[in-house]
């Protein structure tokens, strides 16, 4: 997994609440057996009309936002299904940081398994960052310092230390958990005695 340390980009703002995973990547693209290649289908129904032509007014169809690495969105981003195709599509498009007042639980966890940083900040701060989006000015996200730098201002955000460490170091969760095999074996041995039906 690619490390996440610092990221600089003009953010793209989609000012909608409850952006669900069906919107992020509709079902017809879930038939893939790969993790890559979903970027062109990100936000498919907002991005393309029924004949497959780009919808010009959609923000990600316009420069410089078509190259945005940071997405600003309304609350409860990523609600709905558990499909990891949603973060895969964002990542494949080039988005490595999503900033929202709140995230749905499964989507939030999926981000950390894909080197994407989901940042939770209040509505007012999103509005402030949105101004930079409109002005087409870059903002910078510094994970180590837990800061978002814009113009000559900055704001800070919270993140669980363990999740921060994973992103900073690009750690493989499975590899880490496999180091705990002795604990798992001990648990299984005890379970075999107390709950033999499992």
């Amino acid at each position: 997994m690619e490390k996440f340390i610092k990221l600089k980009s003009i953010p793209a703002h989609i000012p909608l609440m409850n952006i669900d995973t069906d919107m992020i990547i509709p079902k017809q693209f879930l038939k893939t057996i790969k993790r890559t290649g979903l970027g062109k289908s990100l936000f498919y129904e907002m991005r393309y009309d029924e004949s497959g032509k780009l919808i010009e007014k959609f923000i990600l169809n316009n420069d410089p936002y078509s190259k945005s690495k940071i997405l600003l969105a309304g609350k409860n981003f990523g609600c709905g299904s558990s499909r990891e195709h949603a973060p895969w599509a964002l990542l494949d498009f080039g988005i490595r940081c999503v900033i929202s007042p709140s995230f749905a639980d499964i989507f939030y966890n999926n981000c950390f398994n894909n080197g994407i940083l989901p940042i939770i900040i209040d509505d007012k701060s999103i509005q402030e960052l949105s101004e930079y989006s409109k002005r087409k000015e870059e903002i910078e996200v510094d994970l180590n310092e837990q800061e978002i730098l814009y113009g000559n201002k900055k704001l800070t955000f919270d993140i669980e230390p363990a999740k921060k460490k994973r992103l900073l170091e690009g750690l493989d969760n499975i590899g880490l958990s496999l180091k705990k095999i002795p604990n798992i074996e001990k648990f299984e041995n005890s379970m075999n005695k107390t709950k033999p039906w499992i």
Binding site: N18, T32, I33, R35, S81, S82, R83, I181, I184, I198
Partner: protein
């Protein structure tokens, strides 16, 4: 110290806990389907890793499978590749698979309990958000992403942070025509689509106790639509009775031991909940959704809301967007909304009791002439049972199509989809934009309400049928 049911199951599965509360949780049961697993198996292969406990995993294709005649195989090329890939992965890694033509095949959340693979007190995961369904049996069950599927396959554990405890009490008794689908829609409408975020919700109260286990599954199934990690209902005698003699249920001495364990699975009377909401059953009417979020609910006797009356600006914007997408006007009567399609099925309402209830209302009647309707049983065994009871004939005589089991039009990954602007009364769980097909308009309803809509051709009150 007193504990909630969630606390008890959590503590019972703790393999390791870091100082910051990051836990390694043991997974007793893992369900796998064709859509969210191929990349996980591929990951194992690349790293040269094995499946730690193949016997604790059960696989079934459900999302992508056609619901029409399957004897000639799957015609959609990509769907076929996914289903074939699942088959090959299960063979390579030694995992039990109910394949497309197995009579036990069905929606993953229906076959788990049906087989007794689901059990009280267990931790159950699946790469599907509706895994919450299994919480109806007192198991801690939740959806995970594909990277986590790979983690579970490799280690039989999952890295988790503990959620907070939330209890929803539904008190009193349900009025006529009101079912568990209306109860969960009412709960989501009350607490909102993110109202449960960060929590595990335990459903309690007289109404929940009086529901059958299948009706309870409908409630837990849609817990995710309120944003919660999982939904839970304490097991009781009905739960124990349900698991007796299921193919994968504990047998002999193990059954006795398991039942003794299951009886300890309840929240202590003085257990602390971080949040609690009370709902009075008499305030619940048969409900429908009018918008594109499951929280957009209205009684069937009500009107489409007026966004101008909404104070929150973001919410108002969302409401306007929903109404435009749904092709509805503020203040129009819900019962004036004309429907084109009816879908009865899904992991929310595709079980035998759902089909029985629908068939009872439908018997001797016909669907409206300009409506098309389909029933997709939740599993091959549900289908078989229904056919033995003559339920298929009731549906067919009324003008419904009687299909093969799968997820079908709930998410439209197969051919079962809405066309643009087509309007559907659906017993499924999500009314998101494009969910059942691009431009398709979904109204979530109970099976009884779906029948009422099928007969009248409009969203209609189930209490007026018969």
């Amino acid at each position: 110290m007193s504990k909630t049911l969630y606390d008890k199951i959590w503590d019972d599965h703790l393999v390791h806990e870091d100082n910051d509360g990051t836990a390694l949780l043991y997974v007793d049961r893992h369900l796998v389907h064709e859509v969210t697993s191929p990349q996980a198996f591929e990951g194992l292969r690349i790293q040269g890793r094995k499946v730690r406990k193949p016997k604790l995993t059960l696989a079934v294709p459900d999302h992508n499978v056609p619901t029409t005649d399957r004897s000639k195989g799957i015609s959609d090329k990509q769907s076929k590749i996914q289903v074939d890939t699942l088959r090959n992965n299960c063979k390579e890694f030694g995992i039990n698979l109910f394949d497309v033509n197995d009579k036990r095949q069905g929606i993953v959340h229906i076959i788990g309990p049906e087989q007794g693979f689901t059990q009280p007190g267990t931790v159950i995961v699946c790469g599907d958000s509706h895994t919450a369904t299994h919480g109806a049996f007192g198991s801690l069950a939740f959806g995970i992403g594909t990277s986590e599927v790979e983690h579970v396959l490799a280690t039989q554990t999952l890295i988790q942070k503990k959620s907070k405890n939330f209890r929803v009490n539904v008190n009193g008794s349900l009025p006529a025509g009101v079912t568990s689908k209306d109860v969960i829609l009412k709960i989501i409408g009350t607490i909102g689509t993110a109202g449960g975020t960060g929590y595990v919700i335990e459903f309690a109260g007289e109404v929940i106790r009086n529901l059958s286990v299948e009706q309870r599954m409908t409630i837990c199934n849609m817990t995710i639509e309120a944003g919660a990690r999982a939904g839970l209902i304490a097991p009781d005698d009905k739960t124990i009775e349900y698991f007796k003699d299921r193919p994968m249920s504990p047998k002999g001495e193990n059954w006795t031991k398991a039942v003794a364990h299951w009886k300890k699975l309840f929240s202590d009377s003085d257990a602390k909940f971080d949040k609690e909401v009370n709902i009075d059953a008499k305030d619940i009417e048969p409900l429908v959704t009018w918008g594109t979020s499951p929280q957009d609910v209205s009684p069937i006797t009500g009107e489409v809301p007026d966004p101008e009356k909404e104070k929150d600006k973001d919410r108002r914007t969302a409401m306007y967007r929903s109404l435009e997408y749904m092709g509805l006007k503020p203040k129009m009567k819900i019962s004036d909304i004309k429907v084109d399609k009816i879908f009865i099925g899904s992991c929310t309402n595709g079980r035998i009791e759902d089909l029985r209830l629908a068939a009872k209302l439908l018997k001797g009647k016909k669907i409206a002439s300009d409506v098309s309707a389909m029933v997709v049983p939740g599993s091959g065994l549900v289908k078989k049972q229904a056919e033995e009871e003559g339920i298929d004939k009731v549906f067919k005589n009324a003008g419904f199509e009687w299909r093969e089991p799968g997820c079908s039009m709930c998410l439209g990954m197969n051919e079962d989809q809405l066309s643009s602007k087509e309007r559907c009364a659906s017993t499924s769980n999500r009314n998101f934009e494009g969910r059942q097909g691009r431009g398709g308009r979904t109204h979530l309803v109970s099976p009884g309400m779906a029948v009422a809509a099928a007969i009248k051709g409009y969203l209609a009150d189930v209490r007026e049928i018969n």
